[in-house]
């Protein structure tokens, strides 16, 4: 059982959890993730660790409601528990002094890009950050990103905040201005990472992306998270999750991530329709966890 010591919405549908997980907090490095299972009937899903506090023994994760599991997760509050949390998994981001690094976060991907950006800054890099979101209220971690960046640019798809456009527009502008860029790191939705890769490929700028295929065990055992890198099969959980963007076959990633779309839709529909039943199952789990305590 892993206790949620604090839970707070950062934006509509995006929630930050601070979870008591001392072993993970001690070992976590930027770029790594956890796999969690909320309750006995739950699936295992991977989530990037946003931050950790080894002294307090806590890790932070930022969750965007998408399917049933993330909706369920975002219904949990301070004091609730999560049945299983395992990690830190995956290889940490490679941190060294590259020179100038552009760190790009798309939507909730900003939370995943943040620890890597901070580590790059500490390693002496010039960090230029570009954060994008669909609309103003979905821009997250702006203050945190600003603190660790030499410059921060924000774009919104609808122009409701800062500049209207996509993160790739800002990247193009930087390149056109003749900014010397040694490395680009992009974390976000697949279309965004693919678009970034297309821009930097033209200009021969090394680019790293963090991939989020479907996973089960996260230790290399199942092979479900295999991605096609330079024509070769790699397991995102042990070989990644970060890969050279120009070597990634994004088509295969999109196709494999859609493998359970029908089942996911059914889960989500049932979740909407049978919310009460589910809430009860979850309550039961929380009650067991508290053993006659809080509720």
């Amino acid at each position: 059982m892993f206790k949620i010591v604090h839970a707070q919405f950062l934006a509509p549908g995006i929630k930050r959890f601070i979870i008591d997980a001392p072993r993970i907090a001690r070992k976590q490095r930027p770029g790594q993730f956890v796999i969690l299972r909320i309750y006995e009937q739950g699936e295992r899903i991977p989530l990037t660790i946003e931050n950790s506090d080894p002294q307090r023994g806590t890790i932070n994760i930022v969750v965007q409601s998408a399917g049933k599991t993330t909706h369920l997760l975002n219904s949990l509050n301070t004091g609730d528990t999560i049945l299983d949390v395992v990690g830190p998994l995956g290889k940490p981001s490679h941190i060294e002094k590259f020179g100038t690094v552009v760190v790009m976060g798309g939507g909730v991907g900003t939370a995943m890009a943040y620890p890597t950006a901070a580590a790059l800054k500490r390693a002496g890099n010039r960090v230029l950050s570009i954060v994008g979101a669909r609309t103003k209220e979905l821009v997250i971690l702006e203050r945190e990103m600003r603190e660790i960046s030499d410059a921060l640019m924000v774009t919104t798809d609808d122009g409701s905040y800062s500049e209207k456009g996509f993160v790739t527009d800002k990247l193009r502008q930087l390149i056109e201005k003749g900014t010397r860029i040694d490395l680009v790191i992009a974390v976000g939705p697949i279309p965004m990472m693919r678009a970034v890769a297309n821009v930097t490929r033209e200009h021969n700028i090394r680019t790293v992306v963090s991939l989020n295929p479907i996973m089960i065990d996260g230790t290399g055992m199942c092979g479900g998270c295999r991605v096609l890198i330079n024509g070769k099969s790699k397991f995102a959980c042990v070989d990644g999750p970060e890969f050279e963007a120009h070597e990634v076959d994004f088509d295969v990633l999109v196709q494999r991530n859609a493998m359970y779309r029908e089942a996911e839709k059914k889960s989500m529909d049932d979740f909407r329709h049978e919310g009460e039943v589910l809430a009860e199952a979850l309550c039961e789990h929380q009650e067991m966890a508290c053993a006659g305590g809080r509720r």
Binding site: R23, Q41, G223, S233, V238, Y260
Partner: protein, 483 residues
């Protein structure tokens, strides 16, 4: 082994014992079980068990025991069974095997104890596995776990990495010596391959839970959700958490693929993923459980490979409603590594065996989903390095087999997580941990390893044998301090 002090409880003369036929294991009818996950074999009744046990010739030099990787005293436990003292029979097995209800179900006895049984010379061997299962199940139902006597503590701490067959065996043996034993498991449930790999119809999860509960009662501690190498390293366990010795039994590694075109199509699985979804994650109970599975009801499913894992996967697919279920194996029946009993069960259930056949490409439906496997027929040529005749493709024999799901069960390669985070731990060319075959010692002082992470994919009982040798060797190290 000295002759038993007491006279044999078996009243029959050898000649009469040999007249008794091997007692058939009651099983669910094939038509019924092919659509259910409930156990195929139903177990002996007390009458059947006694009748079978009476067949034992009680050899003065029992070869069955010598051929058991953990050295179960077969003759003695069978004598106790004949005498009707089932708990004593179970206790006798437990002296050498802490997981009798599991080995009684999944151990390939025909390759070990039963294969060497004297009765084989004139007929069928003694049903040692069936008898083991009988007394183990009786014990689970009738044993008072609170009566388990714990050994006096030695003050030594041992970390076991992995809760599969080798780890559980080592843990059970070590805790009986009085060492404090802590088992780390990466997944959320204890049991390793027994839980994620072997399906319910061959090894019910409840059996594993009860065997693990027994070990808890013996004093073994379990901690799930710890990936040693990531969550904590071997060095940290020894230097910061005070473990005097570590046993690595992390098991089978990364699933292998054939590297043929189309392996990334949706619907192509590794056997590990396919079985993990079904067994560990209960995908067959979707939507009651959240983990989904591709819906292949009424459609064609094939497994590529001829081992027990392949059969577990395809028989699971059949139970999930596959319309047609194929085993595609590149050699012939004779070379198939799967247990004869499993092959028989699978054939009875209606699995279609395509022998001497191999896929060369997976074909797409145009939308990223598997549609068919392009296969080629093989013939057997000269023996290869493994001593088996090498399959050679027959020119012009290509054909397309329509498929919705293909499961690759062609073996695994070494998982690198521990090796890459443990300085000074030597590995072989293929990346498996190097350990002594007799003591299971690795190149690192105080670190032992055994099971699939040392040998590559093998069987439950061979991993248990390694766990047993490791426990003996760890105990020696902890008591003498000599490395």
């Amino acid at each position: 082994m000295s002759a038993p002090a007491k006279p044999s409880p078996n009243p029959l003369k050898n000649r009469d014992r040999m007249k008794i036929p091997r007692q058939h294991m009651p099983e669910q009818p094939a038509q019924q079980r092919a659509h259910r996950f409930t156990e195929v074999n139903l177990g002996y009744s007390a009458e059947l068990a006694r009748q079978e046990a009476l067949r034992c010739l009680e050899c003065a030099k029992p070869t069955c025991m010598d051929h058991c990787p953990v050295g179960v005293k077969v003759r003695e436990f069978v004598q106790l069974l004949v005498a009707g003292d089932y708990l004593a029979a179970a206790a006798k097995i437990r002296e050498d095997n802490v997981l009798p209800a599991i080995t009684g179900r999944v151990c390939p006895q025909e390759d070990h104890c039963e294969g060497s049984c004297l009765l084989c010379k004139k007929g069928e061997s003694l049903g040692i596995g069936y008898l083991e299962r009988f007394v183990a199940d009786y014990e689970q139902q009738h044993m008072d776990k609170s009566a388990i006597v714990k050994a006096p503590p030695t003050g030594k701490k041992v970390a076991i990495v992995g809760s599969g067959p080798s780890g559980l065996t080592a843990a059970g043996d070590l805790v009986q010596k009085g060492h404090q034993v802590h088992v780390f498991e990466a997944l959320h449930e204890v049991g390793g391959v027994l839980v994620y790999g072997i399906p319910e119809f061959r090894l019910p999860k409840q059996i594993i839970r009860e065997q693990v509960d027994y070990m808890r009662a013996m004093g073994v501690e379990f901690e799930t959700n710890v990936v040693v190498g990531r969550t904590v390293t071997i060095n940290e366990l020894m230097e910061e958490e005070g473990y005097d010795a570590v046993f690595i039994g992390t098991g089978a590694g990364l699933p292998q693929f054939m590297n043929i075109p189309g392996e990334h199509l949706n619907g192509v699985y590794s056997a590990n993923e396919f079985l993990t979804r079904i067994n560990l994650m209960h995908a067959y109970k979707f939507p009651r459980y959240d983990e989904p599975m591709v819906d292949f009801r009424g459609k064609n499913v094939a497994v590529i490979g001829g081992g027990n894992t392949a059969l577990d996967a395809i028989r699971s697919a059949l139970r999930l409603g596959a319309g047609k279920a194929y085993v595609i194996y590149r050699r012939s029946d004779a070379e198939m590594p799967a247990r004869a009993e499993e092959v028989k069960h699978a054939k009875e259930e209606g699995i279609d065996f395509q022998m001497l056949t191999a896929p060369i490409e997976f074909l797409s439906d145009g939308n990223g989903w598997l549609n068919a496997a392009r296969c080629v027929r093989m013939e057997l040529g000269e023996p290869d390095a493994s001593g088996r005749r090498r399959p050679v493709p027959i020119t012009g024999s290509e054909f397309d087999l329509p498929l919705s799901v293909a499961v690759m069960a062609i073996g695994t390669s070494a998982n690198p997580i521990i090796q890459s985070t443990t300085p000074g731990l030597n590995t072989d060319k293929r990346g498996y941990i190097q350990a002594s075959e007799t003591t299971q010692r690795t190149s690192r002082k105080g670190v032992f390893a055994g099971g699939d992470i040392v040998t590559g994919s093998a069987t439950v009982i061979l991993a248990m044998g390694a766990g047993r040798r490791a426990a003996k060797s760890i105990h020696e190290y902890l008591t003498t301090g000599e490395w």
